[in-house]
Structure formats: C-alpha cells, structure tokens
C-alpha cells in the first residue's frame, strides 16, 4: 500500500474547507492544508477542526505553496503526493483514479477534463489551446489539459520537485516532466465550477501576464 498525501493549497478558503477536508478523509486519504497567509478565518478554522495543516508566515503564492507541500510530503516519507485545489474544484473521488495510474508505474499523472470531452470555446480554453500548441512544439507530445491543477506525483518526481522546482505553474511543470523523460499520463476527471471564494485569475490583465510568462517558460527555459 503506497503512502499518499493530499496537498490542499488554501488562500482564503474558509467556506470550502469544512466540506472538502472531511470529504477527502472519507475516502481514507491523509491531507495537508497549507494556509498561504489567509486574511479570513482559515487559520482559526484549521485549528478548530484539527485538520493537519501548515500556516505560512508570509505569502508565497500558489507555486511556492505547492512546492512547500512537496517538501513536506518528501521529508515525511510519502510515496505519492496529490495536489487538490482548496476551493473544491477537484472532487476527491478522482484521487483514487490518479493513484491507480501511479501504481501502474507512471511518475506523473494529470487529471484532465478533456480526454473524452470536447473543449469549449471560451477565452480561458483558447489560452489552454495555445499552451497545448506550445507544449506540442517544444516536446512533440500532445496534451489535453495543460492547466489542470489536479496532479499526482510519484516518488521520483516528488523528490525532484521537492528539491528543485522552478516553475510558474502547471503547464511548464508538465513540459519539464515530458522533457525529462518521466512517464506521465492524463486521466479523465470532471471538475466543478468554483462555488465560493475568488480564483487567482479573476483579473484579465493578470491572466495575460500569466499566459505570457508560462509560454516564455515553456519555449525557452524548459
């Protein structure tokens, strides 16, 4: 039996967490919430419910938070780390799907929304297509959902990411995985629309800035 840690980055998620964490536990997984300097009641809530958590001293952003999660998982002897958004977008029932692929010997498994489903034509998905194209250009491999935050890391990748992770976000991490020759796989999952809280990407200018940085990172730095 592999030792699995579900990492939940959380920034002002006091509304979603009380439901999400017991939900994860109900499937029998261990969880770690990382509170990235929330300004709402997230910290108190975590203490009250006694959820396993880390309170960061200053705000390090999503990429930093996930890396801290990987460091924790690696140093505490976990074999597999799963990242799940703190807002409840990623239903915990798919965790076992990801883990199954890891057990089959894959190093990096991504929950994709678009293996069997068609990609809708929205601004966000046009961005997603652009990233697919960039990854295709760089690696020659076809991916369907490069921005998916729902990922499982096997022990090899976990060690690598805990020690030297230098990415902006998921798409360039995925490019790195492919370039490095790790065995990766995408599995079909469904995601829910965010019901509470605010996304990191609510501002169009920020989204453009993000896209630009990720594209540059994929094309030149990976």
């Amino acid at each position: 039996m592999v030792k699995v840690l579900v990492i939940v980055p959380a920034h002002n998620e006091e509304l979603a967490l009380p439901e999400l964490i017991p939900n994860i536990h109900s499937y029998g997984w261990e969880s770690l919430v990382i509170n990235d300097c929330s300004t709402d009641g997230t910290a108190e809530l975590l203490d009250q419910h006694g959820f396993n958590h880390l309170d960061l001293v200053n705000n390090v952003g999503l990429a930093g938070v996930t890396q801290i999660g990987f460091m924790y998982a690696y140093e505490h002897g976990y074999d597999v780390a799963i990242v799940t958004d703190g807002d409840g977008q990623h239903p915990p029932k798919y965790i076992s799907t990801l883990i199954k692929s890891i057990e089959e010997g894959y190093d990096y498994v991504v929950g994709s929304r678009f293996i069997n489903e068609k990609k809708p034509i929205t601004m966000r998905m046009i961005g997603s297509r652009l990233l697919c194209l960039a990854i295709k250009l760089k690696t020659g491999k076809t991916v369907t959902d490069p921005t998916s935050g729902m990922r499982a890391l096997g022990s090899k990748v976990l060690k690598d990411f805990a020690e030297n992770m230098n990415f902006i976000a998921e798409p360039d991490a995925l490019t790195y995985i492919i370039k490095k020759g790790y065995k990766y796989k995408e599995v079909q999952v469904e995601m829910e629309e965010r019901t509470v809280g605010v996304s990191y990407f609510h501002n169009p200018l920020k989204s453009i800035h993000f896209m630009f940085n990720v594209l540059m990172s994929i094309l030149f730095l990976r």
Binding site: I34, D47, G50, N52, H53, L54, D55, L56, V57, N58, V60, G64, Q67, I68, M71, Y72
Partner: protein
C-alpha cells in the same frame, strides 16, 4: 585628433557632485548597515566616475583603442553595460533569496505545526 576638454567650472561642479555621491554612499552604507560587499561595489562605482572626470583623456584613449567613433557613445556603452550587469546580479540574488525565504517559511510552519500538536496533546 581632438582631446576631451571639460570647462573648468563644469569640471569643478562634477568633482564636487561626485565627492558628495562618494560621501553619501560611504555614509549611508555604514548607517544602513549595507552588506560590505555591496557597499564596496558602489564605492568603486563612485571612484570610477571620479576617474572619468579627473582624467577624461585616459577614458578617451580607451574609447579610441576600441575603435568607437564618438566618446559619448563609449560612455553610454560602458554605463549601460555596467548598470545592466549590476541589475542582472540583483535579479539572481533576489530569486536566490526568494527560494531561501520559501525554505524558511516551510521550516517555521513545521515548527508551528509541531507546537500546535504538542498543545493539543496537553489538553
């Protein structure tokens, strides 16, 4: 061949300005406890400027040796190049520090977690 000529008044003004800069750099580095390595860099910078004002002919000579047609271009090239280098060095430093802060953040959070757990056990 035309030598570089700086009118005496301008030269005096420049020298005074640079001496003020030098004094400021030294004073404020000591006062703000600036890392000695960085302070030295800025002192060398001020000395470099002083050299340019006191002996423009030598700087001119260098620009000629390099085959740069006008002295101003040489100055721009050198100055922009140097500033670029300093700036790049800062970027490298900053990202290193960001990593170190992340690591410290993690270690502190771990200690806090341990503390919380011990408190829970006592209760």
């Amino acid at each position: 061949m035309q030598a570089v000529f700086i009118p005496p008044v301008l030269k005096g003004l420049l020298i005074i300005t640079i001496l003020i800069i030098l004094a400021f750099v030294i004073y404020s580095s000591i006062k703000s406890n600036m890392n000695v390595r960085y302070a030295i860099l800025w002192i060398v910078w001020a000395l470099f400027l002083l050299w340019m004002v006191l002996f423009p002919a030598t700087a001119y000579k260098v620009s000629q040796l390099l085959g740069i047609q006008t002295f101003t271009t040489f100055l721009f090239l050198v100055m922009i190049g140097l500033l670029f280098m300093f700036n790049y060095y800062l970027y490298v430093k900053t990202s290193k520090m960001a990593n170190e802060i992340k690591r410290l953040n993690y270690e502190v959070a771990l200690l806090k977690q341990k503390d919380d757990k011990e408190k829970l056990e006592k209760e």
